[in-house]
Every structure is written in structure tokens, then in C-alpha cells.
């Protein structure tokens, strides 16, 4: 029924009234001649009905034959609309321009959605895409998109795979990170490898525990950084050699000195309640400033926020960017000796927590010295530590 209604609207139809003594005669004549009528309502000496616009003359002819009055009540449909707006050429031009503009604008990319894994930064990727000529407002070209994908993989070593999917005027960029060489090495751990154990620091050996390989140092012996501790080549009494992946721990007494310093005078930024707001309206990739002020001169922090409306889950090519500039003043302050001590102690605690203390390291003694020199407060701490100084050194073996 909907299709029938649509076809009737396209070809046009009209409501009419037949007034006369015998409207039934008109009906009989019309149906005998195959005239298609609908919505027929009969009243006393009146008949209301609807017919196709093309049958208007025939209806008039039959009305004349049956000596009835023929009155057109209303016309409907596309031909009627065309006739009404025939003289309004601007409307037709607007319609044509609108359709043409819509077709032309649909060839551009108006929204770019970047889905990045946690290893990569979305803003970096967006900058890279912009440098390669892929940004909001660029004309869609499948060849250039293939080039962009290829260049992105070449330029950024972290990316192993890029995909740019176009959905209408929206582009969705999907990325996959490259697996690093260290991970590869982890994967190769299970394979048979040959390695030595080398020293990571200068010290005196206190304990040796070798699981695999041959120890080449003894307890009480002094070693230098980088010196061989455990060899991966094991020699048997019969003169044959076996290559192995060395494993074990070699503990040594080592000493290390840490110097932490803070300047006596430092500058601090103190923010004020003075704000300057700048707003920008972006429409189809073209930006228009809403506020008329320029960038404020002086010392200001800038915060930027972007408002992007969406419709049915799709981002619209419209955005409002707000820049909030907050004024600050830089003041020079002098650090007192007590405050400097507290500050340096806190820093030292952080250093010890993250750099010094571990399962394979024990602090034997600690000496600290606080002094003031060259407008700086310095805290020098000397540690005597017993630690595992082994580091694996892989040997490449060609078969």
C-alpha cells in the first residue's frame, strides 16, 4: 500500500467533486471506461472522489456528459509541487547546490578516530598523520591513504601494522605496536645459548655459587668491572670442551658514593587568579576565532580543552576549542639549611628504595656528609655494600 501511495504521489492526484442530480451516472461511466477512482464518498446529489492528474481531462469530459458540475478540490503530488515552485528558480537552484555540496563534502574526511594500544601515544600518532597529510578536512584518496600507511610504518619503528578504515566521512586508524628485541630475546631464552658471567662493579669476592659454567675467580680475590667471573666453556680432564649457558651468583663487597644536591636559591611559579580565555570554532576543518583577544603577553600557563558534539554516536565536523591562560609570577626564594637537609634526606630515601635495596644486595655500612658549597647544598653518602655482581654476557656461536 505504501508503494501505491508513493507512486500516486510521484504521478500526482487530485480530489474532485461531482455535483448533479445523478452522480451515480458519472460513476458508472467512469468505471466502464476504466477510470481509476478512489476515496469515493457519496452525499445527496454530490460525489467526492480522487483520481490521477493524468485523468483530469477525462473526468471533466465524463462530468460534462452526465450534466454534472465538476469541481477540483485539491491537487497533490510531485507534479503539483513542481508547478507551484516553477517560478521560484532560487529554490530549485538551492536544491541542486545543496545536493551537489553534499556530494562534494562527502569526499572529505571530517573525523579521525585513532585507536592506539597503551604502548603508543594518540597525540603523537595524530601529529604524525598530520605531517603525512592526513587530517580532518583532507580529501579522501585511497592511493594517498596506502602511502600514508606505508610511510607511518617506515617512519615510526614502534609501529608494526597500520590500518585506516574509511566509513563515509569518518576515518578509523588502528595501530599495532612492534614487539621489541628484548621480548624476542625472552622468547629465545628457551633455545640453547652460550654465555659467560661478568662483573658489574669493582669489589672483593665474598661468596661464589655457580650452577652452570666454570668459576674463574676465588673468594677474597679483587675484581674489576667487566672482568670474567664464570666461564661458559667447561673443560673436561680428557681435553674436550662443552659450551654452556652460565648460571650462578658471585657476591662481592663493593663501595658506591652518591651525591645529591639542591641549589640554595630557586625560583617558584606562583599562580594568580587572572585568567584569559580564548575560544575557537572549527567547522569542516576551518577554524574561526570567537573571542577577539590575542595571545596574552607575560608569563601564562595554557590549558586547552576541546568540545566535540556527537550525533547518534558519530562525531560531527564541528568543534569548539577553549584555551585557558592563567597568569603566574616567578619568585626567587632562598632555601634554608634545615629545609635543604629534609629535602635531600627525602631524595636519598627514594634513591635507596628504588636503586639500592634489593634481594641480592645488603648495605653493610653507610657514611653521609652534608655541606654547603658554590651556592649549593650537597649530601654525599658512601655505602659499603655486599651484592651480586654477575651479569650475563652472551656468546655468539657459529655452527
Amino acid at each position: 500500500m505504501l508503494i501505491v501511495k508513493l507512486l500516486r504521489w510521484i504521478f500526482g492526484y487530485f480530489d474532485f467533486e461531482i455535483r448533479g442530480k445523478f452522480p451515480e451516472r458519472f460513476l458508472n461511466l467512469a468505471v466502464r471506461n476504466g477510470l481509476n477512482l478512489w476515496n469515493m464518498r457519496g452525499e445527496k446529489e454530490e460525489l467526492h472522489a480522487t483520481a490521477k492528474i493524468a485523468d483530469k481531462n477525462t473526468v471533466g469530459l465524463f462530468a460534462g456528459k452526465t450534466e454534472s458540475e465538476f469541481i477540483i478540490e485539491k491537487e497533490h503530488g510531485l507534479p503539483y509541487l513542481c508547478r507551484i515552485y516553477k517560478s521560484r528558480l532560487g529554490l530549485l537552484a538551492g536544491l541542486i547546490i545543496g545536493v551537489a555540496l553534499s556530494c562534494w563534502l562527502s569526499g572529505f574526511i571530517w573525523n579521525i578516530e585513532v585507536n592506539v594500544p597503551p604502548e603508543l601515544n594518540e597525540y603523537e600518532i595524530r601529529d604524525q598523520l598530520r605531517e603525512l597529510g592526513f587530517y580532518e578536512g583532507v580529501r579522501y584518496d585511497s592511493d594517498s591513504i596506502d602511502n600514508i600507511k606505508r610511510k607511518m610504518k617506515l617512519n615510526d619503528e614502534r609501529i608494526s601494522w597500520v590500518s585506516i578504515n574509511i566509513f563515509g566521512t569518518n576515518a578509523v586508524v588502528e595501530l599495532s605496536p612492534k614487539i621489541s628485541a628484548e621480548n624476542d630475546r625472552d622468547d629465545n631464552k628457551n633455545k640453547k645459548t652460550v654465555s659467560n658471567l661478568k662483573s658489574t662493579a669493582d669489589g672483593t669476592i665474598t661468596k661464589i655459587n655457580v650452577h652452570n659454567g666454570t668459576a674463574v675467580v676465588e673468594i677474597g680475590e679483587g675484581v674489576r668491572k667487566g672482568q670474567l667471573l664464570v666461564s661458559g666453556i667447561m673443560e673436561y680432564n680428557d681435553g674436550t670442551n662443552v659450551m654452556a649457558d652460565s648460571e650462578g651468583t658471585v657476591y662481592a663487597k663493593t663501595s658506591r658514593t652518591v651525591t645529591l644536591s639542591v641549589p640554595k636559591e630557586y625560583s617558584k611559579a606562583i599562580t594568580s587568579d587572572e585568567y584569559v580565555y580564548k575560544r575557537e570554532f572549527s567547522f569542516f576543518g576551518i577554524s574561526f576565532p570567537i573571542t577577539l583577544c590575542g595571545n596574552p603577553s607575560g608569563e601564562y600557563y595554557k590549558k586547552e580543552s576541546k568540545l566535540k558534539p556527537t550525533l547518534f554516536g558519530n562525531s560531527l565536523p564541528i568543534s569548539i576549542t577553549e584555551e585557558k591562560w592563567q597568569r603566574y609570577e616567578t619568585k626567587k626564594l632562598t632555601l634554608s639549611s634545615d629545609n635543604a637537609k629534609k629535602l635531600l634526606d627525602n631524595r636519598l630515601k627514594l634513591y635507596e628504595m628504588f636503586m639500592l635495596y634489593s634481594d641480592q644486595r645488603t648495605v653493610i655500612s653507610k657514611k653521609s656528609k652534608f655541606e654547603e658549597k658554590n651556592n649549593m647544598y650537597c649530601l654525599t653518602v658512601s655505602y659499603e655494600v655486599e651484592e651480586n655482581i654477575c651479569e650475563k654476557s652472551y656468546i655468539q656461536v657459529k655452527e
Binding site: 452522480p23 451515480e24 460513476l27 458508472n28 468505471v31 466502464r32 471506461n33 476504466g34 477512482l37 478512489w38 469515493m40 464518498r41 457519496g42 452525499e43 445527496k44 460525489l47 477525462t58
Partner: protein, 87 residues
């Protein structure tokens, strides 16, 4: 009447002449599908009379109207209170 001259004789006409019968499908008192019409004699919202050749079938009621029709059949809708055969 060029239109009438061009039109070939309808197949239904020959068929209706042969059977010359009336067939009515009455759905409650709201709708009647009528076949075997030879023309409408009277048409208003209270009464519709249809000529079948041998007799006239008269439908009485309220808000009666012809929903659609062709040369030999039509659909009458409305609140039908009586159907009468006039010989």
C-alpha cells in the same frame, strides 16, 4: 469518445454474460465485496443500490461508501443495516 473506441472488449464482460450471477462476500456488517455489478443506481451515504441486470441489490445503513470499484465488482464499506433485493 476516443478512449472507448480504443479499449478492447473486457474479458470480464464475456464471463459475466455467461454466468450472469451475483457473488457477495459479506464481512460482518462493515464490508461487502460485490461481484456482478452492471452499474450503480443510487449512491449516497445512507443507501447504495446496485443494478445486477435481473434485480437491484440495495444496501442501507450509515456512512456507506464505495472503497474501490471496477466495471463488474466493487467494495462497499460502512455500517450496513439491511440488504434488500428489489425485483
Amino acid at each position: 469518445m476516443k478512449r472507448q473506441q480504443k479499449r478492447p472488449p473486457a474479458q470480464g464482460n464475456i464471463l459475466m454474460d455467461k454466468i450472469s450471477g451475483v457473488y457477495m462476500n459479506i464481512c460482518g456488517n462493515k464490508e461487502v465485496i460485490f461481484e456482478g455489478s452492471r452499474g450503480i443506481v443510487e449512491y449516497n451515504e445512507n443507501s447504495i443500490k446496485i443494478n445486477t441486470g435481473k434485480y437491484i441489490v440495495a444496501f442501507s445503513g450509515r456512512g456507506l461508501h464505495i472503497r474501490c470499484m471496477n466495471e463488474f465488482s466493487l467494495v462497499i464499506a460502512g455500517f450496513i443495516t439491511s440488504i434488500e433485493y428489489i425485483m
